[in-house]
């Protein structure tokens, strides 16, 4: 007892407005988060009310004293939800500017500018190349950074939507005076408040006094069922406790007076809100993949840069030259085009998904859906329509299924007429302005009756004389109506077991028969069967009370029961259920065949949950494990993990919002990529924590929609299947794009090695590298994401391999990249030879070549070249190398279209890619032939013939890759080759 209250006081301290514990703000925030993740531990609903009053220093009649209330308000803060600390946009901008490759590019830019500054300080007329390059790198960085900044800049609107659930005023008693316009934010612990039908509960309150008080807790549990709350003994779990009403719940009926247990962030909803706002979702699987890839590439680039730098210093190269090598290494290694490619393909897919009524708020989540291994689905509102309806009707010896819209035999059943009248009179739902109001089951009954006749008319014919409303003790509702035939009609509706005991006869096909033991057994069996399908069963019975027995003017005394309430006539049973959506079953089948596990996590009853689970195909085997919230509370995290591992089909029922979160976290700990579908506020923390949070567009609450990554606009669960397919396609095609981008890395890296090791003039400049990476390669790389999905995309398990596997590296760096390098070197040597520098004379020439002081460098033919003349030759050579790379990359674009099939089989139907290849060539021409631009980018207007130099190599690459794919398809050499290069 002591420890509990001490933990309560500590959590109270944690959420005081003026950070009292002296923690740094980050520590405080993480402590708060871990405190919020725990289940609520309190005994305030268990101890006798008198003790509670003493604890809270309040009085049930006169309330708190005003000055005390003010003191508490000052100490604990107002009764509002505090928003989580949000990062300002400058920090966000800074972060997006410094993620991934950006840091490396910044490094390159700084090196460039340093080189420029040094050159400027030491030389009379410094070259502007380094300045230009630095500026270009910075531009690239800033553009990429802004790109991801706007993507990240989704301001958290979660708290705002929570706020809209908070009422403005309430009735509160202080100093014995009732204030009816008390601002809710001024409420404090211990206040005595009154709530009436239509009000929103202003804080977590314990009921002192109530009358027919019912609340709709849907904002917390997701189940929009009105439950009664009164001053009774509490149960251990405060969320189920019948003597507590929660902040933000709606009072549907009745009246209550209660004492405030906790306010603001400490209320049950406050915790959910705080959790949802504070949880930092894990980076998406794609982001993780990219991050890992970037880390490897960065290490690789820096290592190469370091090796080259060390080699240069060892060989005695000047500092400036070394800097340029390092820049070259970094720029060549970084796939600058990757981030735009990823974003573009995600954006395009997101656009396509919108046309399928699926709003992708967080772009990366669409790919995560493809990688998803587990879907934790909420039941109510997600798998089901969150609308009760009558599914079964049982009348003597016949069961009718309403989903199939019945057969005529039902109408002929004699009992049906009586059942209709009885049901119409019993249902407490009313029709107002064409909308039906009332409790979900009552609405269902009225809806059902509206299909057949006019229940309102029936009610007019049978004016109500007296009634006993439903209560949890009686478990039935009864009313007496005056019949036009000078009779009274007693109708009763309620739990089957208590109705049945009051009945002596049953309405059979045409006549009334007495209920024998056999009949009772039959009815029991039916009830059991229906209960097994998860339906809520209501029994109906009536009794004609003869006017001769009872005077028409007689007052029925409900408390005395001066009327017969036995020997009733049993009419029939109705099974009510919240039916699963039509499309869900086949969707789940598809999802499961794609290797994705589907679990149900619901706040509803285990039986209902189980029934719906087997209905929609989540539970197909008999041994499907049903774990309830109470069981879950007793489980250690380890045991939960083990349970998840052992049972493939699991249904979690009666779970609280924090438990949903625990389940998601446990699944993630097992290495799964978890999607959560949900519609309620109670799902918000789980939605936020999951890799993919999916909310519903129609039934979903605002909070869940704000938290979710994906919103199914038309609530169609089947869209998830499309999403998985699209997500997998994105990943497959992204592999192709990355492969394409990586191939061109090799001919970008190796020139620097040639330069350092063989001292030939630099075959490819840094600017030209950028032209390839950010120019010509871009469109084809993006266009590869338009490739058709491979046929087996939905029949294989979720991906296991990384984005960039060793096999891909073997293929890109070991095979195709080298061929491209050979093509580039050939073009370079040919061009240099045509100018007069034969290959054998190029080796070792670098030192004089790059020296401005040497004004008369002889070539192989005795001609003497000034510095500027040979730099022109170098430019032409580099441009030829560039052209060769472009031509080879065009071939690669075709090669990368398919990983497995022959290109002749796949065809060239991807028009975006075809145009991309043409664009690549046109852009290369543009870069080479535009005056001014070609000086800036250090390219050269090449004569036509030099464009063809790479063709033999292109042909070789194409032929080689077709052969490779052939070997892979036929699994030649015992599939040895598959293991090496099938990425």
């Amino acid at each position: 007892m002591r420890s509990r209250s001490s933990s309560l006081s500590s959590i109270t301290d944690l959420f005081r407005p003026s950070n009292p514990t002296g923690l740094r703000s980050r520590d405080l925030s993480s402590t708060r988060l871990s405190a919020l993740k725990k289940e609520i531990q309190t005994d305030a609903h268990l101890i006798p009310l008198k003790d509670l009053y003493t604890n809270l220093e309040t009085d049930p009649v006169s309330g708190l004293r005003k000055e005390q209330a003010h003191r508490r308000l000052a100490y604990d803060g107002p009764n509002t939800l505090t928003p989580a600390t949000q990062y300002g946009w400058p920090l966000l901008l800074f972060k997006s500017l410094c993620t991934g490759f950006s840091t490396l590019i910044w490094l390159g830019a700084i090196l460039c500018l340093t080189a420029f500054v040094i050159e400027r300080a030491t030389k009379l007329d410094p070259g502007t190349d380094n300045l230009y390059l630095g500026c270009v790198l910075i531009t690239v960085d800033v553009i990429c950074g802004l790109f991801s900044f706007f993507q990240n800049y989704q301001s958290c609107k979660i708290m705002k939507s929570f706020k809209s659930m908070i009422p403005m005023h309430t009735r509160c008693t202080r100093d014995g005076v009732l204030d009816t316009e008390m601002p809710v934010r001024d409420l404090v612990k211990g206040d005595i408040v009154e709530v009436r039908a239509g009000d929103v509960i202003p804080a977590d309150i314990r009921i002192i006094d109530s009358k027919g008080f019912k609340v709709d807790n849907s904002s917390l549990t997701g189940e929009s069922v009105a439950v009664s709350r009164s001053n009774v003994e509490g149960t251990e779990n405060i969320l189920d406790s019948p003597n507590v009403a929660f902040f933000s719940a709606l009072c549907v009926e009745g009246y209550a007076k209660g004492v405030v247990l906790c306010c603001g962030d400490l209320t049950a909803l406050g915790r959910v809100a705080g959790l949802a706002a504070r949880l930092q979702p894990k980076p998406s699987p794609l982001a993780q993949e990219l991050h890992r890839f970037m880390r490897y590439v960065s290490v690789w680039a820096l290592t190469l840069g370091f090796v080259v730098a060390t080699a240069c210093f060892a060989l005695g190269y000047p500092f400036m030259q070394t800097i340029i090598f390092v820049i070259g290494m970094i720029v060549a290694n970084i796939p600058e085009g990757l981030q735009p490619t990823v974003t573009a393909s995600l954006t395009l897919t997101a656009k396509r998904m919108v046309s399928k009524n699926c709003l992708v708020k967080n772009l990366e989540s669409i790919e995560a859906l493809g990688a998803c291994t587990t879907i934790c689905s909420d039941k109510t509102g997600t798998l089901t329509e969150n609308k009760m309806c009558v599914r079964h009707i049982w009348m003597w010896n016949r069961e009718f299924m309403m989903a199939t819209d019945g057969d005529d035999s039902m109408y002929q059943h004699k009992a049906f007429e009586h059942l209709k009248i009885c049901a119409a009179l019993c249902s407490s739902a009313t029709v107002e302005n064409e909308t039906i109001r009332g409790d979900a089951s009552e609405k269902a009954i009225l809806n059902f009756l509206l299909q057949f006749n006019d229940p309102i008319g029936i009610r007019g014919n049978f004016p109500k004389v007296a009634e006993i409303p439903f209560n949890s003790v009686n478990k039935y509702q009864m009313s007496i109506h005056s019949d036009s035939q000078t009779k009274y009609l007693l109708v009763i509706k309620g739990a089957p077991e208590c109705i049945l005991t009051k009945c002596s006869t049953i309405m059979a096909e045409n006549k009334e028969v007495a209920i024998t033991e056999e009949t009772a057994a039959v009815i029991d069996k039916v009830i059991e069967n229906l209960a097994g399908t998860g339906e809520r069963i209501l029994a109906f019975a009536d009794l004609q009370i003869d006017a001769t027995q009872f005077d028409l003017n007689l007052d029925f005394d409900m408390d005395e029961a001066n009327f017969p309430l036995k020997d009733l006539r049993f009419l029939g049973l109705m099974g009510l259920i919240d039916p699963p959506r039509k499309e869900v079953r086949s969707a789940i089948e598809h999802v499961r065949s794609a290797g994705v596990r589907v679990m149900m996590v619901t706040g509803d009853h285990p039986a209902t949950a189980r029934a719906i689970a087997s209905d929609v195909g989540i539970a197909t085997q008999r041994d499907c494990r049903v774990v309830t919230g109470a069981e879950l509370r007793r489980m250690t995290p380890d045991l939960l993990t083990k349970t998840l591992e052992k049972h493939y089909e699991i249904v979690f029922a009666r779970t609280s919002p924090t438990q949903k979160l625990q389940i998601v976290e446990a699944c993630q700990k097992l290495g799964g990529v978890v999607a959560v579908t949900g519609d309620g506020v109670n799902d918000a923390p789980a939605l936020k924590c999951a890799d993919i949070g999916i909310s519903m567009g129609i039934t979903g609450s605002q909070v869940s929609q704000h938290t979710a990554d994906i919103i199914l606009i038309d609530d169609n669960f089947a869209t998830i299947v499309v999403g998985i397919e699209e997500g997998r396609k994105i990943f497959d095609n992204l592999k192709k794009s990355v492969c394409y981008i990586l191939i061109s890395n090799v001919p970008e890296i190796f020139p620097v090695f040639m330069f350092v090791l063989f001292s030939i003039p630099l075959p490819l400049g840094v600017m030209t590298i950028l032209c390839v990476d950010l120019g010509t390669d871009m469109w084809p790389a993006v266009a590869l994401s338009f490739e058709q999905a491979e046929s087996d995309v939905m029949s294989r398990p979720p991906r296991a391999g990384p984005l960039v596997s060793p096999r891909m590296l073997a293929l890109t760096y070991g095979h195709l990249g080298l061929m491209e390098f050979a093509a580039g070197m050939f073009a370079y040597f040919v061009v240099m030879a045509e100018f007069g520098f034969y290959p054998k004379d190029l080796f070792g020439i670098r030192k004089q070549w790059d020296c401005e002081a040497v004004n008369d460098l002889p070539d192989s033919l005795g001609q003497e070249w000034t510095y500027w003349e040979r730099k022109e030759a170098e430019r032409a050579g580099q441009a030829a190398y560039f052209a060769a790379v472009v031509v080879a990359q065009m071939t690669n674009g075709i090669i990368c279209k398919t990983r497995y099939n022959s290109i002749f089989h796949v065809g060239m139907r991807n028009m975006v890619l075809n145009m991309g290849l043409v664009f690549e060539l046109l852009l290369a021409c543009f870069v080479c032939y535009t005056p001014g631009l070609n000086t800036f980018l250090r390219t050269y207007p090449l004569p036509l013939k030099w464009w063809f130099l790479a063709l033999p190599y292109s042909a070789l690459m194409f032929a080689f890759d077709e052969l490779r794919k052939y070997c892979i398809r036929k699994r030649l050499f015992r599939a040895w080759y598959n293991n090496i290069t099938l990425y």
């Binding site: 591992e645 070197m825 040597f829 004089q848 002081a853 008369d856």
Partner: protein, 318 residues
């Protein structure tokens, strides 16, 4: 209750987990499978074999392409792209000798008196001029030499002689006058295959920025003999007004230009670039003098930034 629940998982709990170090050592050598770095020796062998064959094939293709190109399209004596068709252009630059040890420097720096100090420069020049002295020993040079004159250009295949023997004081015997703190710097015009200079002929078309001294000289020479004006003229001067003062009087040996009969350069055996020795007669000592030498012909462009038609060097004598 919890314990009983755990029992059903008891068997699962006992998993053999390896530490990171063990994993690493297993990666390097796995005793169970005999794998080395994740592959068996046989597997590594296959991979090695594959890559050897693959790269050999790639290298072969490259060599075939290169050889075909070099043999069929490249003439070892004539560049495929000449003058404006290539990038070398039609505006030759100038070169100077002796060159400093560090290729990035253009500073000729020595102490006026000590032999040790100027011997490097002297050796450089001796080395540079050796081909001009021992013509008989260079392949083909002896028999190709033709006595050229302004009216008598060399026939195809023949080259003109460059006689540097009586260029006093810029001779080897005189240490190229380095020891007298009045060094001789040799200039040469860059060779461009097939390039013909367009000479300044008349008095009127001499450019405005040509030094007045040179203009006068040209007028004198051309008035004497019109053919002797077929020269690519050379002039040197200090870059800044201060340099112009420090540089002192200059003398061009044998004359301030390259005779036109040396052009065009056709990569003939034994071709020698014509030279001009610039004698700095009384340069100021103890200070760096920036010198710019220009070549003058109508088709020689001048651009100080791109160093077209000129050469720049510094001299410092202590």
């Amino acid at each position: 209750m919890q314990n009983s629940k755990f029992q059903e998982f008891e068997t699962d709990l006992k998993r053999n987990q390896k530490s990171a170090g063990q994993k690493l050592s297993t990666f390097f050598y796995n005793e169970e499978t005999g794998e080395f770095m994740g592959r068996t020796a046989g597997s590594w062998g296959k991979i090695l074999l594959f890559y050897v064959i693959f790269y050999a094939a790639l290298a072969a293709l490259f060599s075939v392409c290169m050889a075909t190109f070099l043999q069929h399209y490249i003439n070892p004596r004539v560049p495929r792209l000449q003058q404006d068709y290539g990038v070398i252009g039609t505006s030759p630059g100038l070169g100077f000798r002796p060159l400093p040890e560090d290729v990035r420097s253009t500073l000729i720096w020595y102490k006026g008196t000590g032999y040790d100090s100027y011997s490097y420069w002297e050796d450089q020049l001796i080395d540079f001029l050796s081909v001009y002295k021992k013509k008989g020993q260079t392949a083909g040079a002896g028999q190709n030499i033709y006595n050229c004159d302004f009216q008598n250009p060399p026939p195809p295949g023949k080259v003109c002689d460059v006689d540097i023997r009586d260029w006093h004081p810029c001779t080897q015997e005189n240490h190229f006058s380095f020891h007298k703190s009045s060094p001789c710097i040799f200039l040469k015009l860059n060779r461009i295959f097939g390039w013909r200079p367009e000479f300044y002929t008349g008095e009127d078309d001499l450019p405005q920025d040509m030094p007045v001294g040179l203009q006068e000289q040209i007028r004198n020479i051309t008035s004497e003999n019109i053919h002797r004006g077929n020269m690519v003229w050379v002039s040197c001067q200090g870059e800044t007004p201060a340099d112009r003062e420090n540089i002192g009087p200059l003398r061009y040996i044998p004359q301030a230009g390259f005779p036109g009969y040396y052009y065009p350069y056709n990569n003939a055996e034994g071709y020698l670039s014509p030279l001009v020795a610039v004698h700095l007669q009384r340069p100021k000592t103890g200070i760096v003098i920036n010198i710019e030498c220009r070549a003058w012909a109508r088709n020689i462009m001048y651009d100080r930034k791109e160093r077209i038609g000129l050469v720049h060097f510094e001299i410092m004598i202590e």
